[in-house]
């Protein structure tokens, strides 16, 4: 059985030959351990695709999540100079803006005056929203523009290179490894666009406008998900950060997250036969039922305490036979900081609870932390492969 088939069966809730193993890695982990120049990973389609494949091969993961989009081939034409400042690189762009690039974490883009460039809730017009990609190379802007480009019309919103990383990974390993695309949820985009606090207050201060924004962002999200599915992605992940109990109540989730993610799932699956699953980190133990109401095919992360609130036994009881689940290993306290014995205990515990009956993918809950030693991940993966087999 190929890794691709293994993941497909697990995503269908079935029992493959063994529990698939597949983790999402922080960008910093690729920077530190893939052997590829971090600038190439972040700014080039080829560099990122190669880093994804290199780490998948090293850890023998059954799947790859392509969680950044393709980059424009001429990205360096926008660059003025690069300066080394301590441990960071500072990239100065020809438009006067700059990017601070640490060696082990996502770079951050700043306007000339040092601000983020995020608009206020009052400033935005829902009619000008379609999709917001927080990790594109020229940061957040309003109206949203891709990678130093101009504002694009909604009927030609996504640049032609948008799925080049995904296509490249699929071309290279897609016949045997499960390759997943990613879209940001409308709620995550809304928060990223407004730098979080303004958006969170906006939900209460002007709920009608917040709904109009989310509704507009939903349309772009569906289109991007469909584009990814048409590239032959094996699944589409909805990255839905900030929707856990660390930020919002169940009531706010029901009003501002659920209906839009439901539309995203339905909209993609109306035209593409592809599993869609949802990644929400932090406290989701109190809202697994609401997440399932979105129609999602699977739930990713399932952060256990203290980072989150999910007790795996309870999650299994709620989700078994309804959605597949992926995650629950504590990326910080077990993988990054735990002893090898801790890692072994952690893997065995998840397999004991979640393996029976299938529908489980062994994974860290949230992303693998940048400085997690590769040997730890190799060990975790090896344990998963060895003890995750089904009779």
């Amino acid at each position: 059985m190929t890794a691709k088939e293994r993941v497909r069966i697990a995503m269908q809730g079935g029992i493959p030959d063994r529990v698939p193993v597949m983790c999402q890695l922080a960008a910093g982990h690729y920077f530190l351990y893939s052997g590829i120049d971090p600038l190439d990973i972040w700014y080039t389609t080829e560099g990122f695709a190669e880093a994804l494949i290199a780490m998948q091969e090293r850890y023998q993961f059954d799947g790859i999540l392509v969680n950044m989009h393709g980059r424009p081939a001429q990205w360096s034409a926008f660059l003025d100079r690069i300066e080394d400042r301590g441990r960071e690189k500072w990239l100065f762009w020809k438009n006067g803006d700059y990017t601070v690039f640490p060696p082990d974490d996502n770079p951050h883009y700043f306007k000339t005056d040092g601000s983020s460039g995020c608009p206020t809730f009052e400033e935005i017009d829902p009619d000008r929203l379609y999709y917001v990609e927080p990790w594109q190379i020229s940061g957040i802007s309003y109206p949203f523009c891709w990678d130093f480009g101009e504002e694009r019309p909604k009927d030609d919103f996504f640049p032609p290179y948008i799925n080049d990383s995904l296509k490249r990974v699929i071309d290279r390993v897609g016949d045997r490894v499960s390759v997943h695309g990613e879209v940001f949820s409308p709620f995550s985009q809304f928060l990223e666009l407004l730098n979080y606090e303004d958006a969170l207050m906006g939900l209460l201060v002007d709920p009608d406008k917040a709904h109009a924004c989310l509704s507009a962002l939903t349309k772009g999200t569906i289109e991007l998900g469909i584009l990814e599915a048409r590239c032959r992605a094996d699944a589409v992940l909805i990255s839905s950060a900030f929707a856990g109990s660390g930020f919002i109540s169940r009531e706010l989730y029901r009003e501002f997250v659920l209906p839009y993610e439901q539309q995203v799932v339905q909209g993609i699956q109306a035209v593409a036969d592809v599993p869609v699953y949802t990644h929400t980190c932090g406290g989701i133990g109190d809202r697994l039922d609401l997440m399932m109401e979105t129609g999602t095919n699977g739930i990713d992360t399932l952060d256990p305490p203290p980072l989150g609130t999910v007790e795996l036994e309870e999650a299994i009881a709620q989700t078994k036979g309804k959605v597949f689940i992926k995650g629950n290993l504590d990326a910080v306290n077990e993988l990054l900081k735990g002893t090898p014995e801790d890692i072994a205990r952690a893997v065995h515990k998840r397999l004991d609870i979640a393996k029976p009956g299938g529908g489980y993918i062994l994974s860290t809950a949230c992303s693998v932390a940048p400085k997690t030693a590769p040997e730890r991940l190799e060990y975790m993966s090896q344990l998963g492969r060895e003890f995750g087999t089904y009779p």
């Binding site: 910093g28 640490p102 082990d104 974490d105 951050h108 979080y196 606090e197 969170l200 207050m201 939900l203 209460l204 201060v205 002007d206 109990s245 660390g246 930020f247 919002i248 109540s249 706010l252 932090g282 203290p306 980072l307 990326a331 910080v332 306290n333 990054l336 932390a369 940048p370 400085k371």
Partner: protein
């Protein structure tokens, strides 16, 4: 008369900033914390009473409800906004010494970390509890913390980190600050941080949420 101070506390508790604010809908058109504070001052309430029985009482309720998961970040942000808007009327009295803060609290997100929301919530809660909060913002280098502590002897410091990568910068900052200011109280918080990590790096208190930070600062301020 006490009714007026309770109005301030009530507006802060429910995030009613001013009369123009549409939130909460059930208080639409009514005065908010801003107007009630001004009225209280005009009616002769001491700034100290307004702070203690209006602001701190209101923010205490907010903190308790947040810790009990009865309210969440959006509600808390609006309560903090109501508090900071009204607090502007008290600033002249703090500057003249007519009203006294509990102490000075220096807060910032550690070097390399650009996440602010947890730090902001903690800062606002602590300010609402009568502390003079100096918010150094995000991506704050150790030297900037040290320089601020030198300028404010007797202050306490709060460090926030949301990333596993920046937790080590938190450790470096604690180490450097404790070396130069052995008696300095340092609080730490953030998603990947826990009590064990706090102890490991030599910080004094792990704040799991803003309310526990407020409680800890209350305890050390009466010692």
């Amino acid at each position: 008369m006490e009714h007026l101070l309770e109005q301030i506390a009530h507006c802060i508790e429910f995030g009613k900033v001013n009369e123009a604010a549409s939130y909460p809908p059930e208080m639409k058109g009514q005065p908010g914390a801003d107007e009630w504070t001004l009225t209280a001052l005009q009616q002769g309430f001491s700034p100290e009473d307004i702070l203690q029985k209006g602001f701190i009482r209101g923010m205490d309720r907010v903190g308790e409800k947040f810790a009990a998961h009865q309210i969440f970040v959006p509600q808390m942000l609006l309560s903090a906004k109501a508090m900071t808007t009204a607090m502007r009327h008290l600033q002249p009295f703090f500057q003249s010494g007519e009203a006294k803060k509990r102490g000075t609290f220096v807060i910032g997100t550690v070097a390399g970390d650009l996440h602010e929301i947890g730090k902001n919530l903690a800062g606002m809660m602590i300010a609402g509890n009568g502390w003079d909060v100096i918010d150094l913002g995000k991506d704050v280098k150790t030297e900037r913390f040290a320089e601020t502590v030198r300028q404010h002897p007797g202050c306490a410091v709060g460090l926030s980190a949301l990333l596993t990568t920046t937790m080590e910068h938190m450790a470096d900052t604690v180490n450097a600050l404790k070396k130069e200011f052995p008696g300095l109280r340092i609080l730490v918080g953030g998603a990947p941080v826990n009590a064990a990590f706090c102890s490991e790096i030599g910080a004094d208190f792990y704040a799991a949420n803003p309310q526990t930070a407020v409680q800890y600062l209350k305890e050390i301020s009466v010692q």
